[in-house]
């Protein structure tokens, strides 16, 4: 059986561990230093902790870092990393380098429960929530770990459906005792699970990206079952309740589907929905997935849509596709082939 991992525990949690083991209180600070500053993979490397205490730690815990199982590289330099979790399931993370940014897109769950029509991850169903340690492990175990400038929670899973562990991971990333990253370097996406989104807004300072994809209720329901309980209109209304300050950013992600959500009427509905909210819109090219009834839009249509939004004063960007050839692009991450598919199904 796997031992409990220390990597992924907050300073408060480590203080609890230290107290339970009857170690001096300062050992908690030493532990966060080794785990999150020096990022060592073994208790033997924690040289300022006494040998006796290291042995006690070793008997009860493991550090919890693990290397990736595989890496694929795209012709555009994007890399897709495959990781095995402690429960022998698989997740993917995408490293996306550009001229002035090195972004890592991390997963928060193995699979996803949300069943969005356009997403490959949703097709593998849901297997488990990642721990904070498993989320952070993606960040510290890739070859480019020291080059990262930005982190986005846009990989496999719905971050707000695993809010406790996501918030823990964000605390470790942004705390002085942790990785000490500015929260402005981290962007967390959601399809709009409202109660958890409120917690995220109130307990974190990181950026928020809303996966909108359709501004009209009836249409969004066809693409995203979540719309049946948490409508995009209600999500936007909740956002209006908060003051995000000058630095914190809200963005709306909008995958464009040919003949579905790409007309002037759709652009105007989007403008109307977010009117008055300080937010930007990212238009994303759809990357077709097997057996999907949806098709992507041409560059011309996307540009036209962008112009309508910009003419109404909405800051809009068209996100460049990256890593499509290795299935690392938006909506394509999946470890379905590695999931034992029919196990336990009762239908």
């Amino acid at each position: 059986m796997n031992k409990e991992a220390l990597f992924g525990k907050t300073l408060e949690e480590l203080k609890g561990v230290v107290k339970e083991l009857k170690f001096p209180g300062f050992v908690a600070k030493q532990l966060v230093d080794w785990l999150y500053k020096k990022k060592v993979g073994s208790f033997d490397d924690m040289l300022n902790i006494s040998k006796k205490n290291r042995e006690v730690l070793k008997a009860r815990f493991e550090v919890g870092l693990s290397t990736y199982s595989n890496v694929q590289e795209s012709i555009d330099g994007t890399k897709k990393y495959l990781f095995k979790t402690v429960s022998d399931q698989y997740i993917e993370a995408a490293y996306i380098p550009s001229e002035n940014r090195k972004t890592l897109c991390v997963s928060s769950q193995v699979g996803c429960k949300m069943g969005c029509l356009f997403c490959m991850t949703g097709k593998q169903g849901f297997q488990k929530n990642l721990t904070a340690g498993e989320i952070l492990n993606q960040m510290v175990s890739i070859n480019e770990k020291d080059e990262l400038t930005n982190l986005v929670y846009m990989g496999m899973g719905e971050p707000m459906d695993n809010i406790d562990e996501v918030l823990k991971s964000l605390e470790i990333i942004t705390s002085e005792w942790g990785f000490a990253w500015s929260p402005r370097r981290v962007n967390v996406s959601t399809i709009g699970v409202i109660p958890a989104m409120r917690r995220f807004i109130e307990e974190s300072d990181c950026h928020l990206a809303i996966s909108m994809h359709a501004a009209l209720n009836e249409q969004r329901k066809e693409l995203m079952p979540i719309e049946n309980v948490y409508s995009i209109e209600n999500v936007v209304n909740v956002l209006r309740e908060y003051d995000f300050g000058r630095q914190r950013r809200i963005s709306f992600e909008y995958i464009m589907f040919s003949g579905v959500n790409d007309s002037k009427m759709h652009a105007e509905a989007l403008v109307k929905l977010i009117n008055g909210l300080k937010a930007r819109v990212n238009l994303i090219k759809f990357h077709p997935i097997p057996n999907s009834p949806l098709k992507g839009c041409s560059d011309e249509v996307m540009e036209k849509f962008k112009q309508i939004l910009e003419n109404k004063g909405v800051t809009t960007t068209v996100r460049k596709s990256r890593g499509e050839d290795i299935y690392a692009a938006c909506g394509l991450l999946s470890t379905k082939k590695l999931v034992e598919t029919s196990k336990g199904k009762d239908y």
């Binding site: 169903g125 109660p195 979540i226 199904k345 239908y347």
Partner: protein
Amino acid sequence: MPRKKIELFASKVVELNHVVSNVYTLSFVRKFEFVPGQVVALAINNEHEPRLYSIASGADENVFTILFDVVPDGFLTPQLIRLKEGDEVFVSKPFGDFTPEKGDKWWIATGTGIAPFVSMAKSGCNLPLKILHGSRTLDHFLYQDLFEECMGEGYLRFCTAENSDKVYSGRLTTWLKEQSSLPKQIKYYLCGNPDMVVDVRDIILEKDIDFANVKAEIYF
């Protein structure tokens, strides 16, 4: 600053009923109007995060009834099964859009995903042409008396672990795949766990049904 949350209202428990193995119904005093197919957020007190449950009771009933599986290591459901008549639960106003539309339809569910369809059937909503319900064992075809009575041969049960002359042996998904075609001009209402919804939706779409005719509610 206290965290902003969905507004919850105290309501008295009327009945807790153990249906089968880990499945229970909980009924509490109804305080609001609703449309069959809607959900309520339910909590054991006003501090903890509520969970969403489809309403399984009819529009004419004085109670709201929910149907739930006990999750042994979950926070809420092990507490729900300790409730007694007169205890308080905290409930939101009903909300959600998984509600009936005009026209022909099929209802497809697994396990407790049958709940919104129970509410629709009890409330006198237009019945579907077919109800497809999947379960591992025969005793988990919840509300089968209701559906046998109102749907007759349109009520199809699919059981993966046991046999009976009333049910199809095997998976609901296998039966769907084996159909040479599916009706194109109807709506398909899917409710249940994400795996089922995604698998069934894929099969339906492979049979040339427009995705706009698929309406899904996922339990997460």
